[in-house]
């Protein structure tokens, strides 16, 4: 995600990278990792207690994605959405596995306290997908949405801060929100269209 912001503006499109990745171009793997490795690692680190588990999941995600690249369908979603979907499955598997281990340990120790659960992986994936789309929005739309999201400014205040006419602010925000929502619907973790594409890469 960061990569998107750090690349020259505007961010490069995913289309070419996704096609090359699917075609087995090794340079595309490195590019995908440079661009999205942080996001996958963030998903893992924010949902798993153990740092090395998180790195392991990130590693396994990219390995599985590469070996299962045939199952990636760019028409069904973005590359980052697909990667995060794989990562999400692996995170959930890991959480379940450690829950089993914990149960065993607890049985032995007779400590009935449940393990505290971290953030919901689905929510983390959704946030990462929205953040990625936000970074891809036209500069004006992004700037105004950030003022609305992060600084909690009203349209009126945004207009005052930026000197952009209120009508234009509204229009930018409306279009930006529509893009974010569309992207979330396509690439978000909510059960739905992407599930089918995932199975092959696990």
């Amino acid at each position: 995600m960061t990569a998107v912001r750090q690349e020259p503006d505007p961010p490069p499109t995913d289309d070419d990278l996704a096609q090359r990745f699917r075609a087995g171009d090794e340079t595309a793997l490195r590019e995908a990792y440079d661009r999205y490795g942080r996001a996958v690692l963030h998903l893992a680190t924010s949902t798993l207690v153990n740092r090395s588990d998180a790195e392991d999941v990130t590693q396994a995600t990219f390995v599985a994605a590469w070996l299962g690249r045939d199952t990636f369908d760019p028409d069904k979603g973005s590359l980052i959405g697909w990667l995060l979907g794989i990562g999400r499955r692996k995170v959930i598997d890991r959480i379940r596995a450690s829950a089993r281990e914990t149960r065993v340990v607890e049985t032995v120790r007779q400590l009935p306290e449940p393990v505290s659960t971290g953030p919901d992986p689905d929510a983390v994936v959704d946030r990462l997908v929205v953040a990625d789309e936000l970074a891809r929005l036209p500069e004006d739309q992004r700037r105004m949405l950030e003022l609305a999201f992060y600084d909690d400014l009203t349209h009126q205040q945004i207009s005052a801060v930026t000197g952009v006419p209120l009508g234009t602010v509204k229009s930018h925000i409306r279009r930006g929100m529509a893009s974010l929502k569309r992207r979330w619907e396509v690439d978000g973790a909510a059960p739905g269209p992407r599930a089918a594409g995932l199975s092959g890469a696990r």
């Binding site: 590693q59 929205v130 953040a131 609305a148 929100m177 529509a178 974010l180 929502k181 979330w184």
Partner: protein, 314 residues
């Protein structure tokens, strides 16, 4: 009744104002507008939570190396040198196969950490014995360390899960050779990774050898040869291995107690490999060479699916 204006729905979703009476009435009866508003509200909430996600920290350097090594072990990435835009690809000395070899070996070195906990070797010692540069690259972006080499980062390699999750039996089996594993961790760099089909150095004497035959239900035409060379390497030749979804792993097994340790991976159904062995490995005890089919399942233990086996005599 007319649907609510989309700009108005965005307005409501962002909390700019409350729905007026007429809008509330419409939302009560119109599922389409209600769903759209709920979706926009959810996205607005997600958007507010994205702060900071544009500045996530870089993954540690060893993570990419581990990815490459694991993929190369699958024989699925023949020319990653080209792909790797990090500095090690620039100096021209690092080869994908060498990296894979390094990973396998550093995995072995990692065992010394486990062994150390039972009183043989301190893992810190392993790092201290390494050339300087151990642990480079953690938290750095690829491309910022011109001198970095994947073969000289034992510190980060020791952190790899691959080594940490070695099963208990492997620890036991390896305790005796742990020190040796440390000793050769640094020398893996010279493993003949640059040659796709490595051949034993000319006139290397063979101290022991084993014909490998199909094991279990493996098709009979699968076969191979294992030869232990005087320089401590295992030269392995295999042919006609059955295709597997994962990769092939080479093991040395003690037939008396079935303790074993992995010595390397093979990429192809017919392949040649030169695999370094711990210098003081007890080949009298670990006398069986085994080639197994392994899956990418994050389970470092032997899959139980042996394809070839043979007993060393010498």
């Amino acid at each position: 009744m007319q649907h609510l204006d989309h700009e108005r729905l965005v307005f409501l979703a962002l909390g700019e104002s409350d729905a007026d009476h007429g809008e509330t009435g419409h939302l009560d009866t119109c599922a389409q507008c209600r769903d759209e508003l709920a979706g926009l509200r959810h996205v607005a909430g997600l958007g507010a939570d994205t702060q900071g996600l544009a500045d996530l920290p870089d993954p540690p350097e060893h993570l990419w190396r581990n990815i490459v090594a694991e993929i190369e072990a699958a024989g699925s990435l023949p020319s990653l040198t080209e792909a790797r835009r990090s500095p090690e690809s620039l100096d021209g000395t690092i080869d994908p196969t060498g990296t894979a070899g390094s990973n396998g070996l550093t995995g072995t070195a990692g065992i010394t950490g486990t062994a150390g906990t039972v009183g043989t070797t301190r893992p810190g010692t392993a790092g201290a014995d390494e050339p300087t540069g151990g642990g480079i690259g953690l938290g750095t972006r690829p491309g910022t360390h011109p001198s970095a080499s994947p073969l000289r980062a034992p510190g980060s390699a020791r952190r790899s899960r691959r080594s940490r999750r070695r099963p208990a039996w492997a620890t036991t089996a390896l305790t005796s050779v742990a020190a040796a594993a440390i000793a050769i961790a640094g020398t893996v760099a010279v493993l003949d990774g640059s040659r796709p089909t490595p051949q034993p150095t000319s006139r290397q004497d063979v101290v022991a050898s084993a014909p490998l035959a199909a094991f279990g239900t493996t098709p009979r035409d699968a076969n191979g040869d294992a030869r232990i060379l005087t320089d401590g390497r295992l030269h392995l030749h295999v042919a006609n291995l059955p295709a597997v979804p994962g990769y092939y792993q080479v093991w040395l097994i003690n037939p008396k107690n079935m303790e074993m340790f992995p010595v390397g991976v093979l990429h192809n159904r017919s392949d040649d490999a030169l695999l370094p062995l711990p210098p003081n490995v007890d080949l009298q005890a670990y006398s069986v060479v085994d080639v197994s089919a392994e899956q990418y399942d994050n389970k470092p233990a032997h899959s139980g699916d042996s394809l070839l086996r043979g007993t060393l005599t010498g």
